[in-house]
């Protein structure tokens, strides 16, 4: 593993690189800025591309190796682009007691991916997260930054029906627009 495993096109890297100087300019050029910069880069692009890692290293006068070592240490950082909808299942204590693993399993089955993976169509990604701090509502899932409490396998089904409806609606709106235009 000499480079993060991912699939980023050259064009994507170029687009990322173009925006980096503006992000960097918000932080002092010192080692202590490393994690805040990585957070800002990920905040903008949702993941850290190999090119971005090299640029961060250059900006802070560190070796890429150093930056990569730091980035892979923390749970927050991702090295591949996530799905359009991000699903996180809480694995905190209360959620465990309330059957959080069963909820996770339902998502895995439904999406046919493992935690930490993205569906091939880049539509959904699934993650197991440490406690999100909503223990009184266990089990909890966070879907696109929206916390859903008292999860049940049937709610998992319902969620995807919602996504389906939304997609259908968008599609129809798009069609309507096109036919109007």
């Amino acid at each position: 593993m000499t480079a993060p495993e991912h699939l980023v096109t050259e064009e994507e890297e170029k687009a990322i690189k173009a925006e980096l100087p503006e992000i960097f300019s918000r932080f002092p050029r010192e080692r202590g800025s490393l994690i805040p910069i990585l957070q800002a880069v990920q905040g903008r692009f949702k993941f850290l591309s190999p090119g971005a890692i090299r640029e961060v290293a250059k900006y802070l006068d560190l070796s890429s190796s150093e930056v990569y070592g730091v980035a892979t240490f923390y749970n927050q950082f991702r090295f591949h682009p996530p799905g359009k909808h991000e699903i996180k299942v809480c694995m905190g204590t209360a959620c465990h007691v309330a059957g959080g693993d069963i909820i996770l399993e339902n998502f895995e089955r439904k999406l046919n991916i493992k935690p930490g993976e993205t569906t091939p169509d880049r539509e959904y990604s699934l993650e197991r997260v440490a406690c999100v701090g909503c223990c009184a509502l266990a089990p909890v899932a966070v879907v696109d930054d929206h916390v859903i409490g008292y999860m049940q396998p049937s709610k998992v089904e319902g969620l995807f029906v919602q996504f389906e409806v939304q997609r259908e609606k968008e599609k129809r709106e798009k069609q309507a627009k096109e036919s109007a235009g």
Binding site: R31, G32, S33, L34, I35, P36, L38, Q39, L60, G69, V70, F73, Y74, N75, Q76, F77, M91, G92, T93, A94, H96, V97, G99, I102, E105, N106, R109, V129, A130, C131, V132, G133, C134, C135, A136, L137, A138, V140, D145, V147, I148, G149, Q152, P153, S154, E157
Partner: protein
């Protein structure tokens, strides 16, 4: 520093202006609606509730002020509303579990018709003759709030609210004291670090104070990572200024010129709230250059932790602020000697710092009068799991577990029996019934083999499997181990593997001894607190629940019917109703089929043991049975014409 009346004058001017602004608002006489908007309330639907209120106010042309407040700690009742309608003669009223529909009903009934909609009322917020006040409920009256006194009652995004309650007055008095004087008060108060280990705060400050250095740093540790603990987040989201006030006092006392608040990035609302509070404090001259006109200056910034539990350990936390892998360092040197960038650094927990302003305001003796001799003050627990009224509870140290669990939090729901309480998260331990009358403080918990930790408390009823709970915590610490030292990196992996084996029914008798020995070695041999405490859940459960381990290992049976590899579900044909299809639709894997007499049976080869069929079986039949070991389930052959559709689809393509 000489006594400087200028500081007090500056402060009083600030407070006076804040009060005037709030007074002007109150003079308008319009009703105010306080709604809890902390992360947990949002999860319970507070955003929808707020939107509904805004809609109904607009649609009906009603005039009311909506104030978003933090968390009251009563998570079971979220979202909560407190409506103060001064012209009606009613006291401020608290409503619970207010969803969007209820909110509309309450607003229309109370604001339009003057009828407070009693069916949704939790209680009144003040003593009165009309509505029972919440202060008489055990969940309120038995608590003693020092740190969380204002949480849920004030607007965390408006510094005026905090100033109105004499906020920052402790800072004003502290700035007039000699530094040693402040440290003396904190030492005398007996305040101990609320991060878990309970180190005397005054002593820590004194070390840092006595160190001469170019610059010193104070770090507020809000890297709350214990699964099941969320008080630090709640305090920041509900009353960030009390924390900031404590932080500034600490910085002044030890002579620091730089401070930072280290918050988990997973707490976005807390991050935004504290950032906003810092800006407000700066605008008011409570931070930055020459605070309140004194010659003390301090800059504070927020650092977001990026998801590593181990960074709650102070040396690892400092590594991560310095832009390194968050690996704990050998101590000594302690951070108070050589911390961030080599400067003396005080690392204090949110609750510790938030305890400081009340101590300065009311004195060390007052603080000592609460709690026990060895652990004065209060403790905040997040009580979750199988308990009627979960949430955050602040109680005096020395309260017994029984009082906390049964009197304050309402006990175990659903006529189930209490089995154990897990205290202190992954560093803590599981305590059985015999400890219910133990007074809770730092020392009693450590003696019992648990730990105060950050105050996570999971209540477990008879359906919880202690082996599974130990396995769960080990899985957590194993994943969160930084990987630096041998005992933690490899040792916890072995512990987890053995526990996994046992919960799968593959345990061997010698495993139990290996488990115990290895756990003890890890405790003694690890480099940092994470490794040293990681075996606690295993050691306590081995000590108090050996019979459960033995049932798993010797009989391949899970007495609590929890470990999925050791259980099976089946349908009792005597009870199953002819033609009922409730379970069939609920099964996510099409494991249920129709057998003789149009009754249902479970295909054991497909069943994933999620328990949905048991939930969906109508209570009047109650036909789904859970057994352990799985061999106890009768096997019913699935007829060929009833194969699951999914498998048939597969066969077609």
């Amino acid at each position: 520093m000489a006594k400087d009346t200028k500081i007090i004058e500056t402060y009083e001017k600030l407070r006076g202006a804040a009060r005037k602004r709030l007074e002007a608002e109150r003079a308008e006489g319009i009703p105010s609606i306080r709604i809890t908007m902390s992360t947990c309330a949002r999860a319970a639907g507070a955003e929808e509730t707020k939107k509904a209120i805004e809609d109904v106010l607009e649609a009906q042309g009603l005039n009311a002020r909506i104030i978003s407040v933090g968390c009251l700690g009563h998570c079971y009742a979220e979202p909560l509303l407190i409506i103060d309608h001064p012209t009606t003669g009613f006291p401020p009223i608290c409503y619970y579990n207010v969803d969007a529909n209820k909110a509309k009903l309450i607003c229309r009934s109370y604001l339009e018709d003057g009828d407070p909609a009693f069916e949704y009322v939790l209680g009144a917020m003040e003593e009165n003759d009309l509505i029972p006040p919440v202060t008489t409920f055990p969940r309120f009256s038995m608590e003693q709030r020092v740190v969380m006194e204002l949480c849920g009652l004030i607007d965390p995004w408006n510094i005026d609210h905090y100033l109105d309650k004499d906020g920052y007055s402790a800072l004003a008095s502290a700035l007039q004291m000699e530094r040693e004087e402040i440290i003396e008060i904190v030492t005398k108060s007996g305040l101990r670090g609320r991060g878990g280990a309970g180190f005397p705060t005054g002593k820590k400050w004194k070390f840092a104070f006595e160190k001469s250095a170019d610059g010193k740093v104070v770090i507020c540790n809000a890297d709350e990572g214990d699964p099941g603990a969320y008080m630090d987040r709640t305090i920041i989201e509900s009353n960030p200024h009390q924390l900031l006030e404590g932080l500034i006092i600490c910085a002044y006392a030890v002579g620091a010129d730089e401070a930072l608040v280290y918050v988990r990035a997973e707490y976005p609302l807390a991050v935004r709230t504290i950032q906003h509070a810092i800006e407000e404090a700066r605008e008011y001259g409570l931070l930055g250059e020459n605070i309140l006109g004194s010659d003390f200056s301090l800059s504070v910034r927020v650092f977001q932790g990026s998801g590593a539990f181990v960074c709650g350990e102070e040396t690892a936390l400092i590594q991560s602020v310095e832009g390194r892998r968050g690996m704990p360092q050998h101590r000594p040197p302690y951070p108070v000697e050589k911390g961030l960038w080599g400067k003396p650094t005080v690392v204090n927990n949110v609750k510790t710092l938030s305890s400081v302003p009340p101590i300065i305001r009311r004195g060390a003796d007052w603080f000592r009068s609460i709690g026990t001799e060895g652990s004065p003050g209060t403790a905040i627990f997040s009580v979750v799991g199988n308990v009627k009224h979960p949430g955050l509870v602040e109680i005096a140290m020395g309260t017994t577990l029984r009082t906390l669990i049964f009197d304050i939090c309402g006990g175990i729901p659903g006529k189930k029996k209490f089995k154990a309480v897990q205290i202190g998260g992954p560093s803590g331990g599981c305590l059985p019934e015999q400890f219910l009358d133990t007074p809770i403080d730092f020392d009693s918990l450590t003696q019992a083999g648990a730990m105060m930790g950050s105050g996570g408390m999971v209540i477990m009823d008879e359906d919880s499997c202690m082996v599974d709970v130990a396995r769960y915590f080990l899985e957590f610490t194993q994943k969160e181990s930084c990987g630096k030292c041998t005992f933690c990196r490899i040792g916890t992996k072995h512990l987890l593997n053995i526990l996994n084996r046992i919960t799968k029914g593959e345990g061997r008798e010698e495993d139990l001894e290996t488990l115990r020995q290895l756990a003890e070695d890890i405790k003694k041999g690890s480099l940092c607190g994470l490794g040293k405490t990681a075996p606690n859940p295993v050691l306590t459960s081995l000590r108090y629940f050996m019979d459960e381990y033995e049932a798993h290992v010797k009989e391949k049976r899970c007495p609590a019917l929890k470990c999925r590899d050791l259980i099976a579900y089946y349908i009792d044909l005597e009870k199953c109703a002819r033609g009922c299809e409730a379970c069939v639709g609920s099964c996510p894997v099409e494991a249920i089929f129709t057998t003789k007499g149009r009754k249902k049976a479970i295909d054991q080869s497909l069943c994933v043991k999620c328990g949905e069929c048991m939930t969906s079986c109508p209570p009047e039949y109650d036909a789904v049975v859970k057994v352990s070991p799985p061999e106890l389930a009768p096997i019913i052959e699935r007829p060929p014409d009833q194969q699951p559709k999914r498998a048939m689809d597969g066969a077609d393509s």
